[in-house]
């Protein structure tokens, strides 16, 4: 049993019909229902919820402050490699892109970590393209001890692995795995993932099950907003989250809401998610799940990010580079995508403090 079995029973057409035929009364009811009700999430993500945005925001903020206080967790990505054996038309790392490829050596990783530590970070997200033979489990097992020496919380955003691989990485100090489905529409998925192992929709869909079974503490789900109908993709991610939380209840969960950004050779978003839509999505998920961590990357503009800090997000990156070796030697030629908020971590932290929020740099001790 995995989420694939649950997914097969969900009717996309029925969910879509219900999403777009929800009424104001459905939304009002949903706002009163206890959290954890996927039917309520459907109403809150529907167009009918748009007039209720301010009320949803008020509730979402109250719930977030009640659960997380005024704390915002600070993290930063470390791009280990831009090698990739997949063809994905929205990503700068896609195999056929004629860009300079690089995988960090131990020595380069140490240099990057030194630079990151000087910014004050203690929580790190290791990112790589998906290249199993050159940037696979042996490489991760080699670099993790270097990383855990310096950082108390280590997350990964790499290709899906086998359960046993995750187990071995947990033993090396891995705390969290971010594994985004990109889109829950199999047809759209196959249009955008044309070559490589990532083409296998089902394998990716059941990956969070393997991550959870391996005992990873925190699991991140996400969709790339713009590939397909964001309301339906978000709803299906909600179903996935609901299944995961109920099945693997010892794990913590986060979601990420990245909007499709320009990149080398990239595609234009098929469906535009406006700022208003993004706010609706954040509020809907907070009302749906009060314990959920919601991450916000530097893809968004400084102005929008400053407003979202107070609106329910719990984890924020700042000062990010999306290229391997980019903290020591910036070189935009190797970037995965364009960054919108280029402010330094300290400037971003000050923006939080001005809004009565507390940027938290260390919040985890895996030994406990």
């Amino acid at each position: 049993m995995s989420f694939v079995d649950v997914f097969k029973k969900l009717s996309r057409s029925e969910l879509k019909l219900r999403l777009y035929s929800s009424t104001a009364a459905d939304v009002e009811c949903a706002m009163q229902k206890p959290s954890g009700d996927v039917d309520s999430l459907l109403a809150l993500l529907s167009p009918a919820a748009e007039p209720f945005l301010e009320q949803m925001a008020q509730q979402a903020v109250a719930l977030t402050r009640q659960r997380f206080g005024a704390s915002i967790g600070m993290y930063i990505p470390l791009y280990l490699s831009n090698l990739c054996a997949n063809e994905c038309d929205y990503c700068g790392f896609t195999m056929s892109n004629k860009i300079k490829r690089k995988t960090l050596t131990d020595s380069e990783i140490k240099d990057e970590m030194r630079s990151i530590k000087s910014m004050g970070y203690d929580s790190i997200l290791l990112v790589s393209g998906e290249h199993e033979s050159k940037v696979g489990v042996p490489y991760f097992k080699q670099v993790l001890p270097l990383i855990t020496e310096q950082f108390s919380h280590v997350a990964m955003e790499v290709q899906p692995l086998e359960e046993q691989d995750y187990r071995e990485l947990v033993a090396e100090g891995l705390d969290a795995v971010m594994l985004y489905q990109e889109t829950y529409n199999p047809v759209t998925y196959s249009e955008h993932h044309t070559r490589g192992k990532k083409k296998d929709f089902g394998y990716r869909l059941e990956s969070p099950d393997r991550v959870a079974r391996a005992g990873v503490d925190k699991i991140g789900l996400g969709v790339l907003l713009g590939l397909d109908d964001w309301r339906l993709d978000a709803l299906l991610m909600g179903h996935h989250l609901d299944y995961m939380e109920k099945t693997y209840w010892r794990s913590r969960y986060s979601i990420s809401l990245p909007r499709l950004r320009p990149c080398t050779g990239g595609v234009t978003p098929k469906v535009e998610l406006t700022d208003k839509g993004l706010v609706q999505m954040i509020c809907a998920f907070r009302l749906f799940n009060q314990q959920l961590e919601i991450s916000l990357s530097t893809r968004e503009t400084p102005k929008l990010r400053d407003n979202l800090f107070t609106l329910g997000v719990t984890n924020v990156s700042a000062g990010s580079s999306t290229q391997p070796g980019g903290y020591v030697e910036p070189n935009t030629e190797l970037d995965q995508f364009e960054i919108s908020d280029e402010r330094s971590p300290q400037v971003v932290a000050n923006a939080m403090l001005e809004r009565g929020l507390n940027p938290v740099w260390k919040d985890w001790e895996s030994g406990w």
Binding site: A25, P34, S35, G36, Q58, T247
Partner: protein
């Protein structure tokens, strides 16, 4: 329709057989309640005749029987009761109750989890009676229980949903039906449990100890149905503040 294991129920009110003045009153009250699942204590079954004065009429009435292990104080005694009931009643359904505390009949979580694990392995449909403990309920789900039966308040106390905050968490998290068991003393409390999203309630004392158990059984039937319908319809909005400003999302209009 409520589905537990492979069985479907139209009524979400489950009842018990204890504390009635007469067997006939019990049967009449159960009939008025429209309950389709009735629990009875294995310890009350007559081992010599394989029956007692309530068993045959109950079977004849067509309700599903849910033998319970009331009186068991540990795993061993609960397993014995379960095995006995399967042999005597020919059912693999068991309401697992283990309470070593004779004063308040508080369920023992440690013994209950272990007994549930063994009984599920042995092929029983296990419905454990437990404290309203969200973590315990998840662990009982993990070992294969077909439902969980958290208490509203101490057995027979008629105190209602004293455990409401924890019931809400259990209901939110459960993948199996949640049946609020014990403590429900009034139809309004049963309605409230159903409004919270409980899948069913089990009521015994409130009906049996009423001056008119038959009427009370009927009242509970209506109350449970009302609560369920209200839950499905969605309760109206409760607002504690005005909504005439846009301080949080005003930036979207800039």
């Amino acid at each position: 329709m409520l589905t537990i294991a492979d069985h479907q129920f139209e009524s979400r009110l489950f009842t018990g057989t204890g504390k009635f003045a007469t067997a006939q009153t019990m049967l009449d009250a159960v009939g008025a309640s429209e309950s389709q699942l009735v629990t009875l204590a294995v310890k009350r079954l007559d081992l010599n005749t394989g029956s007692d004065n309530i068993l045959k009429p109950l079977i004849d009435s067509g309700v599903k029987l849910l033998p319970n292990t009331a009186g068991a104080r540990n795993v061993k005694e609960a397993l014995f009761a379960a095995h006995l009931s399967r042999e005597m009643l020919g059912t693999n359904w068991i309401k697992l109750e283990i309470h070593p505390d004779p004063k308040y009949l508080m369920p023992d979580p440690i013994e209950t989890l272990e007994a549930a694990r063994i009984l599920c392995e042995q092929g029983y449909v296990v419905l454990p009676y437990v404290h309203a403990d969200p973590v315990l309920c998840r662990r009982l789900e993990e070992v294969g229980c077909a439902a969980v039966m958290p208490l509203g308040s101490p057995i027979g106390s008629n105190q209602g949903l004293a455990s409401e905050p924890f019931l809400k968490i259990i209901i939110e998290q459960a993948k199996v039906p949640v049946i609020v068991d014990a403590g429900i003393g009034a139809p309004s409390q049963a309605t409230h449990a159903m409004e919270l999203g409980a899948d069913a309630v089990l009521v015994n004392t409130a009906i049996a100890s009423s001056r008119d158990p038959v009427t009370m059984g009927r009242c509970f039937a209506q109350a449970v149905n009302t609560g369920r319908q209200a839950y499905i319809a969605g309760l109206g909005a409760v607002s504690h503040q005005a909504h005439n400003t846009s301080p949080l999302t005003g930036f979207l209009n800039d």
